[in-house]
């Protein structure tokens, strides 16, 4: 009986976590470069009430034991790195990655972080930076007199100066690739940090044989959250929560009846 109460409570806890996750996905439905997370659940330990082979009477033995489950737990909420839709912005510093790579970002504390959000800007020194002011790695500087900026598929950044015909090369953007991107640690601001689970980054030029993808200028990658799918998940999760709360109520009522037996 108490088992039923706690199993149902674990189900309610799990669904609460599921709804937290859905809420965060929905809240970031318009965040460029955001990757949705999907909650995964697992059943818990089983309590053996009756060992297989135990005697069930004079002639019979139990062919299979009686195992009672003890509920569920949230196992993980992994990041799903499917490609988001592209929107055209015509901003020369907006980039999307067609492939599995990540931009490398040098954070204010000197560490490297990784992102799929390619909406870059220039700071006062002409460096390419994210919306938060963290610089792109390797650093790319464009002088204030530059007239047009072109970023090629392979990440080569070039610009033209006034009264000059030939383009100047500012550098080449490199992309990092992870063996298991689902194991990356989210830092917020669409930045990720490698962990033991994700493996170390393998850095290469865009369009290389590693499959880190090519760059496209003038587009941003939208969030890969599907609002319809999230709403379906929300409805399912809410109903599952309700079902578990019914079980709590049923356990309570049955317990109450047991207590009334002596009256």
């Amino acid at each position: 009986m108490i088992r039923a109460l706690y199993s149902a409570a674990s189900g309610m806890n799990a669904q609460e976590m599921n709804i937290d996750n859905i809420a965060n996905n929905l809240a970031n439905a318009n965040t460029a470069g955001y990757k949705m997370r999907r909650a995964q659940f697992q059943d818990l330990m089983y309590q053996n009430m009756l060992q297989p082979g135990a005697s069930a009477g004079q002639q019979t033995t139990v062919p299979a034991g009686l195992q009672l489950g003890l509920g569920t737990r949230a196992a993980s909420n992994e990041v799903i790195f499917t490609q988001g839709n592209f929107t055209q912005t015509d901003n020369p510093l907006d980039l999307v990655i067609q492939g599995n790579g990540f931009f490398q970002i040098r954070r204010a504390d000197g560490t490297l972080a990784y992102t799929r959000a390619g909406n870059f800007q220039l700071d006062r020194n002409g460096n390419m930076v994210t919306a938060n002011g963290d610089t792109l790695e390797p650093q790319i500087t464009i002088p204030s007199t530059a007239q047009s900026i072109t970023i090629a598929l392979d990440g080569t950044v070039s610009y033209t100066l006034p009264n000059q015909v030939s383009a100047q090369k500012a550098g080449q953007i490199q992309l990092a690739l992870f063996q298991n991107p689902a194991g990356l640690n989210s830092l917020g601001n669409t930045l990720y940090q490698p962990t033991d689970a994700s493996g170390d980054p393998q850095v290469g030029n865009p369009g290389g044989p590693e499959g880190n993808g090519t760059l496209m200028q003038g587009y941003t990658e939208q969030s890969n959250v599907s609002v319809v799918e999230e709403f379906v998940n929300l409805i399912q999760s809410q109903r599952a929560y309700e079902a578990n709360s019914r079980v709590v109520k049923a356990a309570d009522e049955m317990y109450q009846q047991v207590n009334q037996l002596s009256q």
Binding site: A56, V62, G69
Partner: protein, 246 residues
């Protein structure tokens, strides 16, 4: 105790076990690859009363054994290349900490070392006792027979197993099953089909679970009334019948 009370009390106890099972099913409606539990009721015959003139007096209902409902769960598309789902009977095999484990949860990942693992880090088994070692970061392609290719190169085939008698499987938690006895060793699955980019949802919960819950509560109610009636009859026997000649 009179037979009515003791039989009804045994029924109450059995229904509490049933509620535990129903609660675990309800809690796991979102668990990928989860298979719901059901229970068999049978009668426990007290050995000293077996063969007596009034056998019913010695029979008490008990939950004898739960059985796992291995019916197919819905396949939900995820778009992730390392997510796989099975239709038909069969299981994925993985190398657990103490021997092989079997699961319907195909939420696999690739470890930093390039090995295909479950979300708990157990390597997924391929046929011929192999595990999958990726050659590059390119996405895996898995065909309906479980054959895995990457960049056109064949990396092996997922080991899909089936059991003659699935009743022999023990639930280990975390959606894993283990073979009950070494004799119950698995054979190759013949009717299983692998779907890439999908996960199999739990087959527990929904309308079935709600109906089961209502049934349990009503039966519990009936048994409780039976005990009350038994009590009343006993009281009447003591208070009214014994009042002879007063």
């Amino acid at each position: 105790m009179d037979p009515l009370t003791s039989i009804a009390a045994s029924g109450l106890q059995a229904h509490m076990d049933s509620l535990d099972i129903a609660a675990n099913n309800a809690a796991n409606t979102s668990t990928t690859g989860f298979k719901g539990d059901r229970e068999f009721y049978s009668t426990y015959v007290a050995p000293e009363l077996a063969g007596s003139a009034d056998p019913i007096a010695g029979e008490s209902p008990v939950v004898e054994q739960p059985w796992v409902d291995f019916s197919q769960g819905l396949l939900q598309p995820t778009g992730v290349s390392t997510d796989v789902a099975l239709t038909g009977t069969g299981f994925f095999a993985v190398n657990g900490p103490s021997g092989p484990l079997y699961t319907r949860n195909g939420n696999f990942q690739i470890s930093p070392a390039g090995v295909l693992i479950t979300s708990d880090g157990y390597p997924v088994r391929l046929t011929n006792n192999q595990t999958l070692q990726t050659q590059s970061n390119s996405p895996l392609v898995i065909d309906p027979q479980g054959e895995i290719t990457q960049d056109g190169a064949d990396l092996g085939q997922l080991e899909l197993v089936d059991f003659q008698n699935p009743k022999e499987l023990n639930k280990m938690g975390l959606t894993y099953f283990s073979a009950g006895s070494p004799q119950a060793g698995p054979g190759p699955a013949t009717s299983a089909t692998v779907y890439q980019g999908k996960l199999e949802a739990s087959n527990a919960g929904g309308a079935k679970g709600a109906v089961r819950l209502v049934t349990l509560m009503r039966q519990f109610d009936t048994l409780q009334r039976a005990i009350k009636i038994g009590n009343d009859m006993n009281r009447q026997a003591v208070e009214v019948v014994a009042r002879v000649g007063s």
